[in-house]
Subunit: 183 residues, 4 copies
């Protein structure tokens, strides 16, 4: 928690690196937006992909989320390069079922928009639709043990954000109508 004199956190660099690393690892905001769409379209039939992407961007603007994304991708990349010490190297490289630090980091993302996202996270993490299927493909030497959980968590958090926003919109609309009624 201490901050020595010479070091200064630069938030734009952290945000920029998050975006850059996600792109380098093959994940676009549109792909995450499609996961959000899948999770929310039954509740909000009028929802557009553009709206989903905007909510993904809002989630990605949170420091807590950026920290988890960078840490997770870093561990995936080091595992790809074989630079982790055994047995951590093997557990991450083989996406060991009893290794849960990936889920732990992912949940810290979901938590930022509250507990209503837990269900969506688990659901999407199990079914692996869209980009998650690609990330979960173990062939070709590419390792996404952390990233697939993180992407699912971002989609779940964006879904929670939409649920909160839609309620606020509904209430504002209802008040608007009420106000007109009283005129």
């Amino acid at each position: 928690m201490s901050q020595p004199n010479m070091y200064r956190l630069n938030s734009k660099e952290v945000a920029g690196a998050t975006e850059e690393w996600l792109a380098k690892r093959g994940v676009t905001k549109e792909q995450i937006g499609q996961l959000v769409m899948l999770l929310q379209k039954d509740y909000f039939p009028e929802l557009t992909l553009a709206e989903c992407v905007l909510n993904v961007e809002a989630v990605l603007s949170k420091r807590e989320v950026q920290n988890a994304v960078l840490t997770g991708i870093q561990l995936d990349m080091l595992a790809e390069e074989g630079k982790l010490l055994p047995p951590l190297q093997d557990m991450i490289a083989y996406d060991e079922g009893l290794y849960g630090c990936d889920e732990v980091l992912a949940l810290s993302i979901v938590n930022v928009y509250g507990s209503i996202g837990f269900t969506n996270f688990g659901y999407i993490d199990k079914l692996k639709p869209g980009v998650l299927k690609k990330l979960n493909d173990k062939s070709g030497g590419v390792i996404h043990t952390f990233l697939d959980d993180i992407v699912g968590a971002i989609a779940a958090a964006a879904s929670s954000r939409i649920a909160h926003r839609k309620q606020a919109e509904r209430e504002a609309l209802a008040e608007g109508i009420q106000v007109r009624d009283e005129e």
Copy 2:
């Protein structure tokens, strides 16, 4: 954390009440065991329902789990009786989507067997198979806003326990064979 002189926690009473309240609310260990079976049968084809039930019982023997079960069922029952103050009464009675304390309590159950259970919890909480479908039925004045999440969490925790146990068994077996090889 303080314990006045006259009060003494009685663990057997807490454990007994947990079992009794679950039964009164219409949930059997076999039903939870069937959820576990659903979650784990693809990974462990030889798994039996009896084994699943044993793991459910182990989860239910944990104090953390008992506390969450009792607290959740209590809130469900008070909501049924209309004894909660508005607007909490309505949020619990109608299983409000933006109310997440039920998920929060449920996750404290999952956590006891580690983070690998998050996914199973979310998956089952979304799909609502078996007894969860019954619990989630909003007709008839019965309220299970907390209990359906709690039952899903117990099943997810029992699944985590099985995953850890099966690994231990596999290793013990491997060692046994190795030992014989060396003889």
Copy 3:
């Protein structure tokens, strides 16, 4: 997650009830602000109580926080009235050390502003300064088993919010200066 036709969540009512219940249970925003001051004054010597209170209000405006406050206070009040079923009645009435649902709900408040608040929550929950000492006083038949943890969690969350804001201010200022330097 379902919303029957006649029920409609009213966010203003939830927010209003949160404020009302906190006041009825003897907790003011100023008292929570003083806890925030205690936690943050060493890091930000220029911090004012008014600023702390504003951050407490921002925390209290979050739905996740309101849900936890209402649920916790409700359980405290029902325990005071002796309306909970044994043994839950006793565990809450005597603030049983092995009962942790109060900490679980409190942590869901801390989580909303990210993981950097865990430490402050635990610290303040152990030391019980200011209003927490009063809430933790077990004499007189008043029960605040949930509320003392919840108030500590609100203070910890407000502290996290301040830490994030101050960094943003610092960076905006630095950019402003830099911009001038470049002119």
Copy 4:
């Protein structure tokens, strides 16, 4: 969660590496035991250091704990070697206050023995007694950004374990006496 044919998790290796890495990073079980003693001696005056160390060992035998220890130490070491990508390198090297992945991993350790450990974790993480002071010393190029939180979390988890055990012992004793009374 998948386990390709050739890879086989070896639990003894994971447990062994956890012990080895903690030792290499300068942390002994006795030092963690002393933190436990500090947290629990007021509640259990008869508690011995040997008993505390036994409880630390029980915590360290849990897979969830081992995973967090190994992952945290790995990140500390890579930061020491300057092998992380900026800006993650800087955030971990300087123990950035707004970086909370260390607290997130630590909390996954605390969770294994339930929510009653949150308070002890936060308290000890703020005060930094004993070995935590040494780990938190930023001079000399050694980085323990993750490890100091992890060690505090192990001590908090061991404290929770003791609290649960002591209650069980108390009840067994009470029953024993009762049994004799009835004879």
